[in-house]
């Protein structure tokens, strides 16, 4: 835990200051919600962020918690808690934040079971003053894990493209869309950001050389290099789970085909040979298979084949076209963009049952990716003519729209858990 947190803080340290806030709208609720109260932390008014509200928003948007307003009750220490006052909730979080003389902040928190009248969690974290939000996300992760048994994803990061006029920014942000930080700014389009499995690098596509060229960039050093710049388009990078190779799509030998390449650009090898378009590869979590989009059967559908090439099996049969498949973290299914009657929806499909479940209902939802715990799906949609971020729980019950103050959001991709 400590190492993972330190890694996260390091990642924060090299990025630029946070940008403007978002508008977040949550609809729907999970089937069995856990009632919980998050009491305002003592001393948090003095911080740049209110820890208690960041925790509360994280838990709320998971759809698995029902936030109960503590009203005027404001205990900060165990001795202040009168359990009888909290009968309507299962759990209670209290804590305090103290600015240290050296500018750092010490945050203490406790998670209490109000029925058993006992402490479930208690921790103290010291960090730089500008990382209060990161601490709050970590606390929300711990609470989530305690109650659901699944890893929390509030501390993970997402990447997407923010387009304002001709200016395109490749950005990395917190999983709730806050703390947007630019990785690359260009006056040419940027596409298809893809996280390395350890979260240290992004592969992406830009048009700065006049055509689609794939780059890899370190989020620590900011150094970047060309992964593939063959004649034609070089696009759609996807990392193998061991990080030792990527699948990419090239047109150097004709119509778009899938190739494997090492992260340093060496060892290029073609693995699809159809005359049709083969694109959007996604590795299975065990690295043995690839899902990809192809129009080899006439319409665009999702296919699966061994990761080093071979027989490709068609996976999707419903609607007009299906695109942009991404494996679920458990490898049991995939999420994709399902097109029917000119509309585009986010859907999931299970490999065993072959059942498709459509998770969205507006009709302009693109580029889905799973949170690393498999419980949420991030995608791009539109609101008032502007691209925005949205999530839906993998059961389709809870939806969230995140509208930034400026820019047109495209191509989001949820990042991995950071390595322990």
């Amino acid at each position: 835990m400590a190492v993972r947190f330190l890694f996260y803080v390091l990642l924060m340290g090299v990025t630029l200051p946070a940008r403007a806030a978002l508008d977040i709208e949550i609809t729907g609720a999970g089937e069995h919600q856990i009632p919980i109260s998050i009491v305002a932390f003592a001393g948090e008014e003095a911080l740049s962020q209110k820890i208690s509200s960041v925790i509360a928003n994280d838990l709320k948007r998971s759809g698995l918690f029902r936030l109960v307003d503590p009203a005027t009750k404001a205990p900060h220490e165990m001795r202040d808690v009168v359990y009888g006052d909290w009968a309507e909730v299962d759990a209670l979080t209290i804590g305090s934040a103290t600015a240290l003389p050296d500018g750092r902040v010490e945050v203490k928190f406790r998670l209490l079971d109000t029925h058993k009248q006992s402490q479930l969690l208690g921790q103290s974290v010291v960090s730089k003053g500008d990382q209060v939000r990161a601490i709050a996300h970590r606390i929300a992760d711990m609470i989530y894990e305690k109650f659901t048994g699944d890893a929390g994803v509030f501390s993970t990061r997402i990447s997407y493209i923010n387009r304002e006029g001709k200016v395109n920014r490749l950005v990395v942000a917190d999983s709730d869309g806050y703390g947007e930080q630019s990785v690359l700014t260009l006056k040419e389009p940027i596409m298809s950001p893809a996280w390395s499995p350890d979260g240290s690098h992004l592969a992406y596509v830009t048009f700065e050389q006049g055509r689609a060229v794939t780059y890899v960039q370190s989020l620590f050093t900011r150094q970047r290099f060309v992964l593939a710049a063959f004649p034609g388009s070089n696009s759609s990078p996807a990392w193998a789970p061991d990080g030792k190779q990527l699948a990419i799509v090239l047109t150097r030998d004709g119509t778009s085909s899938i190739y494997l390449v090492r992260p340093d650009g060496s060892g290029l090898r073609r693995i699809t040979f159809s005359d049709a378009i083969d694109t959007e590869p996604s590795f299975s979590p065990d690295g043995r298979f690839l899902l990809f989009s192809s129009d080899r059967g006439g319409s665009v559908q999702i296919y699966r084949m061994p990761a080093d090439g071979g027989f490709a099996e068609r996976m999707t049969f419903e609607g007009n076209n299906n695109f942009s498949a991404r494996y679920s973290p458990d490898g049991n299914g995939f999420v994709f963009m399902h097109s029917t009657d000119g509309q585009f929806y986010i859907a999931t499909q299970d490999f065993q049952t072959k059942q498709m479940q459509v998770l969205t209902d507006v009709g302009w939802e693109k580029k889905p990716s799973f949170a690393p715990n498999g419980k949420l799906v991030l995608f791009a949609t539109e609101s008032l003519g502007r691209g925005i971020l949205a999530t839906v729980s993998s059961d389709g019950r809870v939806k969230q729209k995140m509208t930034p103050q400026q820019g047109d959001i495209r191509e989001p991709m949820w990042g991995p858990f950071l390595k322990q």
Binding site: P189, M191, F207, S235, T279, M337, K367, G385
Partner: protein, 172 residues
């Protein structure tokens, strides 16, 4: 003097034919006031004729059209655009020093990566027709912008139909 005026009028009329604009006759009387010998001017028509320098610069030529439009998710050049693409192929055949880039584009429906692939396929489709019409492969390169550089904004068929397109761009 009379002959000179006639010549000037003739030049104006020829110019009118070439540009298809109303003849600017009104200016004619002003010009010849101090005109010298008539002889050179009489040759003017012969000098005007070669004004058809390069058909590419002629706004009335079919070569002035350089965009082929496609149906949704299709990359076949439509019958309406074939004569235009074929004319460019023939022009490239007779002007082997000229080179073009065919730029393929797609509308915003579908995934961005599939649309990048579709833009490549559209550019390739136009390239093939240029070659069949006489151009050499070495005169043509292709690029796809997918859905990334839309000509028309808007989420409707009017915009999408403009963006499902391949442009023939001549190198300078």
């Amino acid at each position: 003097m009379k002959k000179l005026t006639m010549s000037v009028l003739l030049v104006s009329m020829l110019a009118a034919c070439a540009s298809d604009k109303p003849a600017e006759v009104a200016e004619a009387p002003v010009a010849p006031v101090e005109a010298p010998v008539a002889a050179p001017v009489a040759e003017a028509p012969k000098e005007v004729a070669p004004v058809a320098v390069d058909a590419l610069d002629d706004v009335n030529s079919i070569l002035a059209k350089r965009s082929a439009f496609f149906d949704f998710d299709k990359s076949v050049v439509k019958p309406a655009d074939k004569p235009m693409v074929q004319a460019h192929g023939q022009y490239l055949a007779t002007n082997p020093a000229r080179k073009v880039v065919v730029e393929g584009n797609a509308d915003e429906r579908g995934s961005s990566e599939y649309n990048l692939a579709l833009g490549n396929r559209r550019a390739d489709s136009v390239k093939k027709m240029l070659i069949v019409s006489g151009a050499k492969a070495g005169q043509i390169s292709t690029v796809s912008y997918g859905e990334e550089k839309p000509r028309a904004a808007g989420h409707n068929e009017a915009a999408w139909s403009q963006n499902r397109r391949a442009d023939i761009a001549y190198n300078k």
